[in-house]
Subunit: 345 residues, 2 copies
């Protein structure tokens, strides 16, 4: 059912039908009524293209799909994307995808999309120190929300964002290890300078210190990966005063740590085997954690996606009056993660 | 930069600008020239909405995003979706997402999208026996391609599809096990009636038979999952004449099988430990396989996505003349999987 069918039925030109939809004031009343009757008789639904011409709104939210790089942590983004699509549909929006490999290529992709599809808003993921994407969007007054806080200016006024409190997650994991009798709890994380990684390390360090355990010497930094995690864990387990528990910034690192523990006769095994317990905890509750029995910190990804869409819907509907003086009360959402306990800790 | 800015610059109504873009024959030449000069002066790019009104083409390809159900096999879809987005961009198309939980709700979602966004084409995944979605789309002459062959009518004329030859994958895995000295090679797959599952079983059975090994009694069927895989594997390993190798229809089942092998002292361990080898091979080369050292059959997902987009682009550009008499030469693509060897076999 197209505008052409309506035109034929109403015996007017295609342009007249378009005018009735987009600029009814240009059409004489008799003609307008005839076209509207044809629209109703045929069950024609004005397409989004026509509606967009009239309203300037595309009802599209664009977001980047990230490659599943190491194949372990990538599933997080998949779950977020699914939640985003479902939540957006609830508000009458659809999700449009694009790819990019860094900040600059993402800006170029956004610019292209704006010219061609005019998305109403953007959801950016993977915020980081020195993120140039958010400034670019803000300068152009484009509606957007980030999943991830603005790490370079955490205290000042900022764009709307949704994030998960990673430090609260590692703090809860550390408390669990303390509660089960561990004192020498090692932490394996990424090199300092990553907002997300430093935050996760901070939760471990402050919880250990609060329990009277000096975290000095119990910390290892390494790039993400299974092999790097195994090496860092070996270092902590072979120390003069070895760690008895290993908290990791990712499930990739934790899986490597579990291999190191196993080969020293102290790991767990998903089949119930294994020797004396060296506890291991990961982060992100990935499929690998579920499959191997790894205790891990879980992010509420569906909730995060729903919050992103709800923030955008409010911005797009212009209801900013409900925000506080500094906007902080309603445009920043920090969600709490939870610890999913399995065999490994 | 909107149509309103152009109208203001050219000192005409917004509707006149729209007419210049969509129905230039309605606009007097002097006015048309003035509007076109303003469009050029302002660097206005006719939006997709305007272009869509004119051409009836949205440059959108819609596909369903599937929830990562068991968290292991779900990553396959994520990788396909990323490939689809990249390939579509290369042809000037964007990917629009929708969610659904069964055939009927997917048809409803497609119907909704057609009314609102008018996607040019659809990519359907997860084809199965009695699939009612493809008939629905075909009846309406909507352009679409499926990732997955039409299982209910594999020989007749059909819609365009791209698939991976699962039977060739299990055949290659079985040959590898035969070559490394195994004869009693068990197969753990899904209950009969699933197109994909029956195909994977067939590749194993015919390769074993060709090597002079009777497959009878070496086959177990079970629902997908880690626990079900462990149980089925235990059954094959505890038989009077136990299997020495286990080929599985998924990495979930294979992970369970590896637990069963380990607990009988015959598995492999990613850390290099473990006893005498009971070989295990999975299917899909998921993150779990990579993380745990599981040998697995890998699907060329980026290539499959690229083929889907290329088929659609050709259909949308109307170039069907290059197809053979029955269309089979150019509208059906069966890709070959490969065996990724790791510690488990």
């Amino acid at each position: 059912m197209t505008i052409t069918d309506v035109a034929r039925h109403a015996k007017v030109s295609r342009q007249t039908v378009s005018n009735v939809i987009n600029a009814p004031e240009l059409v004489r009343e008799g003609t307008r009524r005839r076209v509207l009757e044809s629209i109703e008789a045929l069950g024609y639904r004005a397409s989004q293209a026509a509606r967009q011409m009239r309203t300037g709104r595309s009802r599209l939210i664009a977001t980047r799909i990230e490659p599943a790089e190491d194949g372990i942590n990538g599933t997080i983004h998949d779950r977020f994307l699914h939640g985003l699509t479902e939540s957006a549909a609830g508000f009458g929006y659809r999700v449009l995808l694009y790819t990019a490999h860094d900040d600059q290529s993402e800006i170029a992709a956004v610019d292209d999309l704006l010219a061609a599809y005019e998305p109403d808003a953007f959801v950016l993921t993977g915020t980081h120190h020195g993120d140039v994407r958010t400034a670019w969007l803000a300068e152009r007054r484009l509606p957007f929300v980030t999943f991830g806080r603005p790490w370079s200016m955490p205290e000042g006024p900022s764009h709307p964002w949704v994030d998960v409190d990673g430090a609260a997650g590692t703090a809860a994991a550390t408390r669990h290890l303390l509660d089960t009798g561990h004192r020498r709890i090692g932490f394996i994380g990424w090199p300092t300078g990553s907002g997300v990684g430093d935050d996760r390390r901070a939760g471990w360090a402050r919880t250990l210190a609060a329990a009277g355990v000096d975290p000095a010497g119990l910390d290892r930094t390494t790039d993400d990966g299974v092999a790097t995690g195994e090496k860092a864990a070996g270092d902590l387990l072979d120390a003069d005063r070895p760690a008895t528990a290993l908290l990791c910034a990712s499930d990739s690192l934790a899986l490597g740590a579990s291999h190191a523990a196993l080969s020293r006769g102290g790991g767990w095994r998903a089949d119930g085997g294994g020797g004396t317990p060296i506890a291991v905890i990961g982060f992100d509750d990935t499929s690998v954690a579920r499959a191997t029995g790894l205790t891990s910190v879980s992010q509420p990804l569906s909730e995060a996606a729903a919050c992103c869409v709800a923030l955008l819907a409010r911005i797009l509907d212009g209801d900013e009056a409900s925000a506080g003086e500094d906007g902080s009360a309603t445009t920043r959402v920090l969600l709490q993660p939870s610890l999913v306990r399995r065999q490994s800790a």
